[in-house]
Symmetry: none
Subunit: 218 residues, 4 copies
DNA sequence: CATGAATGAGGCTTCATTCAT
DNA sequence: CATGAATGAAGCCTCATTCAT
């Protein structure tokens, strides 16, 4: 009779669940975990609160589900961007581009992972730590291989490699935020990646060849 | 009547206020802004709740005061560590050491600035953004001078410099967290700074000299 | 298509309804009226929730139906146990045995009647009161006849008979719980009935003959 | 200015807490544990809900506190009514009068103990079971001594004594309800006690002397 | 000023119950 | 009829915040 009826839209569970996760990611990103209200999430999802609880059980579970979904999406984006078999520098370059492209396309998801999840206690921090560890692992492998390709004479100490990987990931995270904030003149993901690549590549090469900076007076 | 009563120590407002901020920073760092309760803060500060409200007006104001105090302390630590007049590389090195030393010495304050403040809406995010901008400005100046000292032929484009500065700050932030988490085997602030310096310095030098990495097939 | 599907067994309404009542009695006994959930009842009954509502209309109606069914079963058990025409003491003895046998055999039903129904507001309390009144009536008749058989000189005052009946029924109810709780060494319904009968019989006889206890100093 | 101000009545905690317990007992008695709402209790207590939670922590704790208070009051009433040193029959008589007087004076408390507490899961049932056990213990002692005073030749078997005690307590509980329900013509606690005493006393005497009822045909 | 009494507002969660398919 | 989608209403609990003493 009336095509404009809005209320009881029947939809398969799968679809509804995705809408809920979308809404939850948006609200968690905007407000933070504690300040986000299930009311707002439900409303944004176009569903009633009981339905949200029926499908996702609790605020905690909902947040976990968001983290898991976004983390998997990000990892997949990075993994899918690199061509196993390419040389190390190329793989680093491609991985960075994948990372920046994904974070730019999903700013809310990135905000949840980067800003919210780490600040709200064990259950969530652990899941994000697992994601971050995967990123760090990928980068660690690239650094090691890069060092080898670059003719490294002696293997770099493990602690230093770990530190470098964290530095690189931190730089990337920071640049992701930087390029997202510059509305209007946002650099393309290609430019962002180039900036970081220029910065990092020769640093790695130098390290691989034992050339280090040292304070003059010390 | 009774000299053994310990609780209602009369103290000058200045001292009391500092105790309150100390307590607040600790609780905000541990629990997050929303989950922190004024009750817990007052108790940890050893003061009554009405007094907290008398001095600091509201939870929001209290959080802002925390952010401002910690941000100023951090900036001062970095500024105080560098010797104006020293060459650019030395100043970067000293600034990094100051940064890592301070964040390691004040983990709660750093957690509030880095993890909590940015995730809780405009009023706070703005204050933290101002802090970060100051750090970025310092680094930007160093990069520019470094490029000049290194014999840069043409000035680097502004966007790229900004990106580099953000990358460097992000790397530093990430390393601060990394070195704090490694309980037991936490690297000294000197080692952490060295790791980043090794990584960054030659990158900057290369850039200053126009040597850039470029994708092979592009 | 597939003969192995087990769930949607078509069954006559009568059977389904009994299953539902069985499930409801079990759940109400275990959880109480308010804490029992229609979900749990439907699941235990092996039926879908809409069907439960189709047959039994509402939680309230369902509970009422449980009470009615269990009350009728109990009354029937007691009535069926006594042999009209036997002497009064024998009928009391048989009635008690019937009562204890039935409550022991249907602990959930007894729990619903004794524990749950009386504590949940008028609609249910009335139905249980009706049941209890029937029990009291039976007992009242027995007491009166016992008094006559025992050679009662003057009729007992009505209030006293009513009180005695309530005392007897209360004692029986209490013993039903007592014998059900003593897992392992649960006395047979015969022993339980004997305990109460020994206790009650001579009391009634004495009363019938006007012998009463009186406080010494009063 | 206006003596009719009603809202923020300041009162010492002790007083408020008693008002809350009074209100809670009334509401729990009327509605049952689950159906009672903290809103209604708070309103009846003339306090806000947060204050109820501040003092009594949770619905569960509140219910427990009610049970404990009412149980102690009842036990005290019974204990205080009997004169240690009086003969057994006199003590039974006095105890019953104390019991009926107290339950008649505090029908809500009695309802909570007798009807509500036992039907709502372990935490509460245990507390009530402890109370009931105390009553049963008292009665058990009286029965044993009565048997001895009455010239009991051989000690009664333990199970039988336990059964008798439960029967007597059940009868008393039932009579308490009976006399409370008869509004208008409610028998005095003295009459109620007399009814039960007449009923029970000769039964006990007979048992003590080995006279038992036995089915004719068995 | 310290203390303790007090609360409005709001958040998470759960049910009994109903349609559409 | 069985299924699964859907919700209004209500309940427990907590917190930032304020007075009176």
């Amino acid at each position: 009779m009336d095509a404009t009826q809005t209320r009881p839209k029947r939809m398969p569970r799968e679809v509804r669940e995705r809408q809920m996760l979308d809404a939850a990611v948006a609200v968690f990103a905007r407000r933070g975990y504690r300040a986000a209200s299930m009311d707002e999430i439900a409303e944004l999802a176009g569903a009633s609160k009981p339905l949200v609880y029926l499908y996702l059980h609790s605020k905690e579970d909902l947040f976990s589900a968001c983290i898991r979904r976004e983390a998997e999406a990000l990892i997949s984006a990075v993994r899918g961007a690199v061509d196993r078999g390419a040389p190390a520098d190329r793989r680093l370059w491609d991985g960075l581009r994948g990372f920046f492209a994904h974070t730019a396309a999903h700013p809310d998801g990135w905000a949840v992972l980067h800003c919210q999840a780490r600040t709200h206690g064990e259950p969530f921090a652990l899941e994000v730590a697992a994601l971050r560890q995967q990123l760090v692992d990928v980068v660690t492998r690239l650094i090691t291989e890069t060092a080898e390709d670059g003719g490294c004479t002696a293997p770099l100490p493990e602690t230093e490699v770990s530190g470098l990987a964290h530095a690189l990931v931190g730089a990337a995270e920071s640049l992701a935020g930087w390029s997202n904030e510059r509305d209007g003149a946002a650099p393309s993901e290609r430019e962002t990646a180039a900036t970081l690549m220029n910065f990092a590549w020769s640093g790695l090469e130098n390290l691989a060849n034992g050339r280090r900076w040292a304070p003059v007076g010390a």
